[in-house]
């Protein structure tokens, strides 16, 4: 067991790990020592002075974020004296703080509110003079809004742009009480991780523009999930607003926040994952439909019967299946059972190029924008079975070798564009399964609504091979079923 240092904090014996400060040990064990400037990934500058603790034998108050415990040291944070120092530090933070709580989005999860409303605050303010006014409602970039009056100068955001995103857009300009956080002249806060700045800000100085005034945070439900944006598999928590549908413009997904996972994404997520899914409810499929030859809404049993028989109509060599890395491990399992074991289809296309690839960087973002290609490899897709390319599939269709296409959560027209229309006309059977209509939804013979990642439980395997669960945050729309349930339904009839 690693060497630990035992010390007492508020009467409790605590074992601090090697190189851990008193504050880190206390926070790990859930003891309340107020702090703003310390952040596990951004260091401990010790400038907010909130985490004052009393140590026996020390002449004056010590900041616990820079205090490395010694064996047998006795420290107190909840005693009247340290609480008074912490409360005094809070009063200094609030001297020039505007009373913006009614209009501030951070209200409900604000560091100042949390500490003021419990044993550290609730004093009558003795500030009688005019407060110092600074910039309000300043747009920093596509996603972030700044309010300099609310800023408590904990310098977390400048440390983030210096250490993590290394884009150096923000700085602390001026000196003394009139110093402000601001953009370097001529720069915009548009680095791919700009959203994290609003996370690390403990107060309402840096807030999200996409979330601005949409819904109050205490109406949100939090669900642990995995971002399906790319193969990194960042741990997120999806905040959904379903209790009061008139809030958040009726959208069910209010925002996406990172969840701490040291092995995968640490404390951060990129802007693509954070803001990419906010239009979660747009263009959704809800009805099980047969469009051709005659448009009719079917029940799941009827549709399963028709599609399974349609798939059997001609020899399996002519069948092609288009899938993507967005399938969960469970989906891949049922996919493999249906198309390999039951139908032994030979033509598969699941390569992420060209529509599911994007930018990559050394921090989090991965090139393949599909969360579960590794899951496919586990069941053979990408190891035993190679993926076709879009051109070879198009050639086979034109050559008439392919009569049927089953597209799962993939949009051929988006890739083939105009040529896609002619190609899909030639097919005898086109089954389109997925959460959104996209461009192919109109042309399919059968359209089967599937649930998207927030409406189902499942597992993604990220590029490191780490299998990570994601939980269901929302109820499926209409008759949508998870992909594996649809495959199971078809497989049962073959």
């Amino acid at each position: 067991m690693a060497k630990t240092i035992k010390f007492t904090l508020d009467g409790r014996v605590i074992e601090a790990r090697e190189g851990e400060t008193v504050l880190q040990a206390a926070t790990r064990l859930g003891l309340l020592i107020p702090h703003y400037c310390w952040h596990p990934a951004l260091g401990n500058p010790g400038n907010c002075r909130m985490c004052n603790v009393e140590v026996e034998g020390a002449p004056k108050a010590l900041v616990s974020c820079r205090l490395y415990p010694k064996e047998g040291m006795v420290a107190r944070s909840a005693a009247p004296a340290p609480r008074r120092w912490q409360s005094a530090a809070l009063e200094f933070h609030l001297v020039d703080h505007p009373l913006d709580c009614p209009v501030c989005d951070q209200s409900g999860e604000c560091g100042l509110q949390d500490y003021y409303m419990n044993s550290i605050g609730r004093y009558r303010s003795s500030m009688r003079d005019n407060k110092w006014h600074m910039g309000k409602r300043m747009v920093l970039g596509p996603h972030i809004m700044l309010d300099q009056e609310r800023c408590i100068m904990c310098t977390r955001c400048t440390r983030f742009v210096d250490l993590i995103s290394k884009s150096h857009e923000l700085g602390i300009f001026g000196r003394g009480h009139s110093q402000v956080i601001d953009l370097v002249p001529g720069r915009v806060l548009d680095n791919p991780y700009s959203g994290c700045v609003a996370d690390v800000c403990p107060v309402g100085a840096l807030t999200d523009r996409d979330f601005r005034f949409q819904v109050r945070v205490w109406y949100l439900d939090w669900t642990d999930s995995i971002c399906p944006g790319c193969s990194r598999g960042c741990n997120i928590s999806a905040h959904t607003s379903t209790r009061r549908p008139w809030q958040n413009k009726g959208l069910r997904l209010a925002r996406v926040k990172p969840r701490y996972k040291p092995e995968v994404n640490g404390h951060w997520i990129c802007d693509e994952g954070r803001y990419g899914f906010l239009n979660y409810d747009s263009d959704r499929l809800g009805k099980v439909m047969r469009l051709k030859p005659s448009a009719e809404e079917l029940s799941w049993e009827a549709a399963a019967a028709e599609v399974s028989s349609a798939l059997r109509r001609k020899p399996a060599e002519g069948l092609a299946v288009m899938a993507s890395g967005r399938l969960s491990n469970e989906d891949w399992q049922a996919f493999q059972k249906l198309f390999l074991e039951k139908l032994n289809v030979r033509r598969f296309l699941f390569a992420p190029e060209p529509d599911q690839v994007g930018a990559e960087d050394e921090l989090l973002r991965r090139r393949d924008k599909a969360p579960n290609l590794e899951g496919g490899k586990a069941v053979g897709f990408g190891t035993r079975i190679a993926s076709m390319s879009w051109d070879s599939l198009a050639a086979d269709i034109e050559a008439g070798k392919v009569w049927g296409l089953y597209a799962v959560d993939r949009d051929p027209v988006k890739v083939w564009d105009q040529r896609g229309h002619e190609l899909l006309e030639r097919l005898d059977l086109l089954v389109y399964q997925g959460p959104r209509k996209g461009l192919t939804g109109e042309l399919a013979h059968y359209r089967l609504p599937a649930t998207d990642w927030l409406e189902e439980k499942g597992h993604f395997t990220n590029f490191q091979g780490l299998v990570q669960p994601y939980r269901q945050a929302l109820k499926p729309l209409g008759a949508a079923k998870p992909d594996w349930a649809i495959f199971e339904g078809l497989a049962a009839r073959l």
Binding site: H168, L170, F173, G174, R175, V184, P185
Partner: protein, 156 residues
Amino acid sequence: MSHFSAEQEQTLMGWARRYPYRIMGLLEALRQVQEWRRCVGDQDEEYLAKLFDYPRNHVHELVTFFPGLTLRPTGRYRVGICRGLSCALAGSAAMCRCMEKSLGIKAGETTPDGKFSFETMECIGACDHAPALIVNDKLQGAASEQSISELLERLP
């Protein structure tokens, strides 16, 4: 080719190489630019950030932190009257008003022709010459009506 002359670039490179670590010359280089251009502009910051291989936000932090460096151009002659305790006891407030009257500008402003800029400064270490008067970082001695008017004539 940056907006500095070759010879100016040479001086700035001199500051970069002057001290054992390159970054230690940054503040001196900024003072040099302030001397030439009477302020530190955006292009200057970009140039120095590249020259010292130092992020631009930190360079801008320096310019806004130190009162010696300004964003807006000051006059050719930067006149300052100290408002420290000893000088305040010796009547620096009256001298400031007299200076404002004779220059026709308020404290912190620059004369339209760009020749003078006047500001009240914190202690400049000349309490034996209270109230102290300084021009371009050079102490001129105690400020009095007579010394102020005499100073304004003398400067070309």
